[in-house]
């Protein structure tokens, strides 16, 4: 595809500098550099979020006060949620790996609107700073929970408006990124790159982008309404003024449930990349996986009210939303079956990215299956707003999306930085992450079923044993994460040079050098086959092309 002789002349994107010093980054419109800007920002926010979670778990060691008071704890879980959801999980994989690899995987030199792309990053940073700034201003950090439910968010005296505006700005970053990706996929595919030759990561990003563009404005408007209500007391949501608090919940979840799919679909896309590469075979059921992404994106719009089964909605609404929720579980399940089937009769090399993917399949399945308990009315009424829900969404979001973000980091690290990390250490981190994760979150399923409500600073003494196990789990998990990140950071500086195609992958990013040249391809490739065509590789037997 790419011509090897010309490649040597092209400067790689890390060497190519359009501006001097730090501005080579801050003013770069190169999609790869912007991907790295997002990476740095998000990993930083991730560690802020981890630290907040760590403190929360310490507080949970004893039934009463352990280290922080109730008000601080409420701010902690709010900020943990806001940072992890709005600054890490929602933008995560699309902003980092989508930016970096979407253009390369479709054979383009950049996204459709490179300057808009850089602007999106600045919006992201501005939104993030708004959220963080509320910590240090008078009134104290926001204590509403990341869901900002009214009337509490209208009544509390803490800094609500600033993080809300932060989320509003982040929304625009998300919309513009979505717009950029949709246009890129439609307009910039290389010759021969038909829709059914798109890698499944691109399909997933494409489906996600549509959710970003269509759903995000709803939360933007909702947030503005809350701000207006707080400042001008109009009476939209505040029952004291004739408003309806349930209206807020509907509007909030009309965005925030599809947002769950913004979080998970790109991760599913990454899984569909990693498994074929390490199994060295084509994906099982390409079209089913591609269409199930679209199906999830579509049905995902019609299940929002399953977050509100106890809110006092009509019983008919509860029934309809429960039924639709059960149905949306099916395409996700089908994807899992397809992934496992892709391992069947493969030629499997068990490397770090694949181990993370296996961990994902296990954890995500638990997350998805316990989602059935929450979609079911009788059981949801009992476990909603308890630790069961906390466990469920950490299995899906952390066990799902974040674990795959780590998998993607290991999978594409050699390509992005041209360096190899220490494989043994990368694998050594996984048992800590796996064991720590399950200790930390599985106990929460039990706590929830026992009746421990979420967002509780103190709790009844009978729950203490489980809380202690959970807290110890958080230490083991964090240890695993430290090993993982330390290994990658070390590799960044001291890693051995990576080959162009260390895993034997066949999508377009593996046809160009590591790290990629400034504009990716010296000559736009002409695509003649599907994304996971390993037939010629298996003929050469040694595997590497």
């Amino acid at each position: 595809m790419g011509s090897a002789t010309l490649i040597e002349k092209a400067e790689n994107y890390l060497e190519y500098k359009a501006h001097k010093g730090i501005f080579a980054w801050l003013l770069s419109t190169d999609h790869k550099r912007i991907g790295l800007l997002y990476l740095i920002a998000m990993i930083s926010f991730l560690w802020v979020g981890i630290t907040l979670g760590f403190i929360m778990k310490l507080e949970m060691l004893t039934p009463d006060k352990t280290i922080v008071d109730a008000q601080t704890y409420n701010a902690l879980f709010t900020l943990h949620g806001v940072i992890m959801i709005f600054l890490f999980i929602i933008p995560g994989i699309p902003a980092i790996f989508g930016n970096f690899f979407l253009p390369i995987q479709i054979g383009a030199r950049d996204v459709a609107f490179p300057r808009l792309n850089l602007f999106s990053w600045y919006l992201y940073i501005t939104g993030g700073l708004f959220a963080i700034a509320s910590l240090f201003l008078q009134g104290g950090p926001i204590d509403t929970g990341w869901t900002f439910y009214v009337p509490y968010s209208i009544r509390t005296t803490t800094n609500v408006i600033l993080p809300l505006l932060g989320a509003f700005i982040l929304g625009f970053s998300s919309i513009l990124t979505g717009l950029n990706f949709i246009t890129t996929v439609h307009r910039l595919r290389a010759p021969g790159m038909t829709f059914f030759r798109l890698p499944l990561f691109v399909w997933a990003l494409y489906a996600t982008a549509w959710i970003q563009v269509v759903a995000t404005p709803v939360v933007g408007i909702t947030i503005l309404l809350v701000v207006i209500e707080r400042v001008l007391h109009i009476g939209i949501f505040d029952p004291a003024l004739g408003g309806d608090p349930l209206l807020f919940q509907h509007l909030f979840w009309i965005y925030s449930h599809p947002a769950v799919y913004i979080m998970i679909l790109p991760a599913m896309g990454v899984v569909s990349e990693i498994i074929p590469t390490f199994a060295r075979r084509t994906i099982f059921g390409y079209k089913v996986i591609a269409f199930s992404s679209l199906a999830i994106a579509l049905i995902g719009y019609f299940v929002w009210a399953h977050h509100m089964f106890t809110s006092g909605m009509s019983d008919t609404a509860r029934m309809v939303f429960s039924l639709l929720t059960f149905l949306v579980a099916v395409p996700s399940g089908v994807k899992v079956f397809n992934w496992v089937a892709t391992l069947y009769k493969g030629s499997i090399e068990l490397r770090a990215p694949l181990i993370y993917v296996m961990m994902f399949i296990f954890l995500f399945s638990i997350g998805g299956l316990t989602g059935l308990v929450l979609g079911s009315l009788a059981t949801d009424i009992h476990v909603t707003d308890t630790y069961f829900v906390v466990a469920h969404f950490h299995y899906v979001m952390f066990g799902g999306t974040a674990i795959i973000l780590f998998a993607a980091l290991h999978y594409w690290f050699p390509k992005m930085f041209g360096k190899m990390y220490n494989e043994k250490l990368a694998i050594a981190a996984t048992p800590f992450i796996f064991v720590g994760f399950n200790l930390l979150y599985f106990t929460m399923f039990i706590l929830g079923y026992l009746g421990m409500p979420r967002r509780y600073w103190s709790y009844l003494p009978e729950y203490q044993t489980l809380h202690i196990i959970s807290t110890v789990g958080s230490w083991v998990l964090i240890l695993g994460l430290i090993i993982m990140f330390a290994n990658l950071i070390y590799a960044l500086f001291k890693g051995k040079p990576a080959e162009a195609n260390p895993w034997g992958g066949v999508t377009l990013e593996w046809t160009i050098p590591s790290p990629p040249p400034h504009e990716n391809f010296d000559k736009i490739p002409n695509v003649t086959n599907g994304p996971y065509d390993f037939s010629h590789i298996n003929e050469t037997k040694d595997g590497k092309s």
């Binding site: 106890t310 579980a329 399940g333 496992v340 493969g346 030629s347 509780y456």
Partner: protein, 323 residues
């Protein structure tokens, strides 16, 4: 460990078992095949992969079977839920009012309580309201909750069966003291309930009744510190050995307290009277080392029978238990 106190709770547990059972089997199939394939088709043993692009039959099966499975879950669960929404004729009406951070229960004859009393064997319809922000009226042992939303009247039906006392928690985040918005529901026989409703017996009588029928009088005094949570005592006074904003209740075990009375250091013997005084008029004698923050009087927080109950609880659990 998992308390079930109504037939409905039992049914919810069965729905749970059904869903979790099927889920567990699916998880097992997925995980075992995944690990089996990774071992069996390891590149060393299996250097050349088969390029299988799909298999219509299998794919249709694994779409149809899950659809059928989730539909059975839906119908089973919906059936159980629907039943719980029916208000039977003759149900007792209790209005539940939630506010930051306490519960109030209004009975048909105008009686108002902080802890809930309901008769066993008679369906109860709760009309749930909130006066400030969202709350959620949650009885884990009954497996049921319903939000209290300002400006709305939500409802919830329970069919209490077992005599006993069960926790009521707030399950919708409502600000600083959300986690201590606990109270108790006492399920008592219809006869005792109507006697109480008519004013023939007091709340403490019902509490003692429940205690004596669920493990004896001793249990009632040693079993639960729920009221200390419900009334906010534990915010400052721990029930274990740790220092809080105020002295731990465990310090009562010493049998005497070093206090300041009118600025003078004195040691006083701890008896029921001392405990009562300390609750009603806390600043009369302050335990040494805790002079900086004064405790508010609890006269307005506790009713007479609750005060008696707490004094009994603290005295018999901490003072009398001293070695």
């Amino acid at each position: 460990m998992f308390q079930t106190a109504t037939n409905y709770a039992q049914k919810v547990d069965y729905v749970m078992l059904y869903i979790i059972g099927i889920s567990f089997i699916l998880l097992l199939i997925i995980t075992i095949s995944m690990i089996y394939f990774v071992i069996k088709y390891n590149r060393k043993k299996h250097p050349i992969a088969s390029q299988i692009e799909g298999n219509k039959t299998i794919e249709i099966i694994w779409i149809v079977v899950p659809v059928v499975l989730v539909l059975t879950m839906f119908f089973y669960s919906y059936g159980v839920f629907k039943e719980a929404r029916i208000v039977p004729p003759g149900a007792l009406n209790v209005k539940v009012e939630a506010k930051m951070w306490a519960w109030k229960f209004y009975y048909e004859n105008g009686k108002v309580t902080d802890t809930l009393f309901i008769p066993a064997g008679k369906p109860v319809k709760f009309t749930i309201v909130a006066t400030d922000v969202n709350h959620s009226f949650y009885i884990p042992a009954f497996r049921i909750k319903e939000d209290a939303v300002p400006g709305r009247e939500n409802y919830m039906v329970v069919h209490p069966k077992e005599i006993g006392s069960f926790d009521i928690a707030c399950a919708e985040y409502c600000g600083m003291n959300h986690s201590i918005m606990y109270t108790k529901v006492y399920v008592v026989p219809e006869k005792e309930f109507s006697e109480w409703l008519q004013g023939k017996v007091d709340e403490n009588y019902l509490r003692r009744y429940v205690a004596s029928h669920t493990g004896g009088y001793k249990d009632y005094l040693t079993g639960s510190y729920a009221i200390l949570f419900a009334k906010g005592c534990v915010q400052c006074h721990n029930i274990d050995n740790r220092k809080g904003i105020g002295p731990s209740f465990v310090e009562l075990q010493r049998g005497f307290a070093n206090v300041k009375i009118n600025g003078k250091d004195t040691a006083v013997v701890i008896d029921k009277n001392y405990i009562r005084e300390s609750i009603i008029n806390p600043n009369l004698h302050i335990v040494k080392g805790y002079e900086k923050i004064s405790m508010p009087s609890s006269v307005n927080i506790l009713k007479e029978d609750e005060l008696n109950y707490i004094v009994d609880l603290l005295y018999s659990n901490f003072v009398k238990n001293k070695q």
